[in-house]
């Protein structure tokens, strides 16, 4: 089981809050290494979250949810 974290998009402000703008996968989907899992945003900076392990994904937060950088947004197991 591995955690998928909200990436550190703002280096100046480690506690910055961002948004999980888009889930590309549904809860319970199979995921492969390098699949794009989500698009996240902090202020106007957007980034893709890419899978670093394979397995079944469990989404921990809703699409559109505000999340602090570094927080767990999904798990892969």
């Amino acid at each position: 089981m591995s955690d998928v974290l909200f990436p550190e998009l703002s280096k100046e402000e480690p506690g910055a809050v961002g948004v999980v703008a888009t889930w590309f996968l549904r809860d319970g989907d199979r995921v492969r290494v390098d699949d794009v899992i989500a698009e996240v945003q902090v202020d106007k900076v957007a980034a893709d979250v890419v899978a670093t392990s394979a397995g079944t994904i469990r989404l921990v937060v809703e699409e559109g949810a505000e999340v602090r950088q570094g927080a767990v947004i999904a798990t892969i197991g």
Binding site: V19, A21, T22, F24, V36, E39, Q41, A46, E63, G64
Partner: protein, 349 residues
């Protein structure tokens, strides 16, 4: 060469991505295999395209192949035409379809006519991409579709994908086509995080090479009672209506034309022969455009296929308003489509 996945004999390996990512993936895959292909336009480099049409490509292919241009559409579209004539395969982005007004001479008198005027001796294998469509209060000069205007002028193909897979497949086909191809992407189908959420903008897309032939419509939903023939963002609205009306036992067939030039008139005839009832939905202007052309595709051949007069749902012949309520009133949204379907079925007055 394409490798087949032995574990998935049912079809190619796919995964869920947005339309914008699918478009970028097609560009990247074609650019990997063909050094003649490059992409040029305003803010297509570091910015990645204002509607994410080129995100990440500058890092991957560098500034010689992902080229930011000055705000000078006539000059850089002309540059693309010259490069195409000389054997490269440029993809040139006009930031908004609305901006055709400042550069139309290059498009319709040069890009579209060089092949004809040279007696077929000179080819212009160029793709002209552009963002289109409204629904987000960007005003009358940034919200138009205008694909009917390009389609009206001879000499260029016009493709308008509605889904992520088609965005990828039509881009690959457009770049490989020896004719100039206008590739119109609606901002509302791109799956952009800062636009209104559209569930249909993210879907399964083949991982490897994917080609959708230009000029072949797609029956995206089968139904027996009424045909909705449409394109681009309106396909999504039509599918929403079809979902709703299925609950009332009404079978709506949704046909995505996918390209205006060539127009798959046989697909229009086939669906009308099946249902006898036609609703044409177009986010472009009503008069002198796609909706009339689709109806004529039937009446030219066999008007008796219609068991009820066809209904057109399009933007009335007015500029697109900025005010949200007024804009929603002129756009062919799902409420207007549903009312048209009921009308053609004789379910309302």
């Amino acid at each position: 060469m394409t490798l087949t996945n032995q574990e998935l004999p049912a079809g190619p390996e796919t995964r869920r991505i947005s339309t914008s990512k699918a478009m970028v993936e097609a560009l990247a895959q074609v650019m990997e295999s063909d050094e003649r292909v490059f992409y040029m336009g305003e803010d297509v480099g570091a910015y990645g395209g204002i509607f994410s049409s080129t995100t990440g490509l500058l890092d991957r292919f560098g500034p010689d192949r992902i080229i930011d241009t000055p705000i000078s559409e006539t000059a850089f579209i002309g540059l693309g035409i010259g490069a195409a004539v000389e054997g490269l395969r440029p993809v040139v982005e006009l930031m908004f379809a609305d901006f055709m007004g400042v550069c139309l001479d290059q498009i319709y008198n040069h890009m579209a006519k060089i092949h004809f005027e040279s007696g077929g001796n000179v080819k212009v294998p160029m793709v002209l991409t552009m963002a289109a469509g409204g629904g987000y209060s960007d005003g009358a000069q940034h919200s138009q579709c205008l694909w009917g205007t390009f389609a009206h002028l001879p000499g260029m193909k016009v493709v308008v994908p509605s889904s992520p897979a088609d965005a990828k497949g039509l881009m690959t086909a457009a770049i490989r086509d020896d004719n100039p191809v206008v590739y119109v992407f609606h901002k509302g189908v791109m799956g952009l995080p800062w636009m209104a959420k559209n569930e249909r903008a993210i879907d399964e897309v083949p991982v490897g090479e994917h080609v959708v032939p230009i000029g072949v419509a797609n029956v995206v939903r089968a139904g027996d009672d009424v045909s909705v023939v449409t394109i681009s963002r309106s396909v999504h609205h039509a599918l929403d209506v079809a979902d709703r009306l299925a609950g009332e036992g009404i079978g709506v067939e949704v046909v995505d034309l996918r390209s205006l030039v060539p127009l798959d008139r046989q697909a229009v005839l086939s669906t009308v022969a099946k249902t006898g009832r036609l609703v044409v939905v177009d986010e472009d202007y009503l008069s002198f455009g796609m909706s009339g052309e689709v109806v004529a595709s039937v009446t030219d051949v066999d008007p008796s296929l219609f068991s009820a007069p066809p209904v057109r749902v399009a933007v009335p012949d007015v500029p697109i308003p900025y005010a949200h309520a007024l804009e929603q009133a002129v756009l062919p949204g799902s409420e207007r489509i549903e009312a048209a379907v009921r009308r053609v079925l004789g379910l309302t007055g």
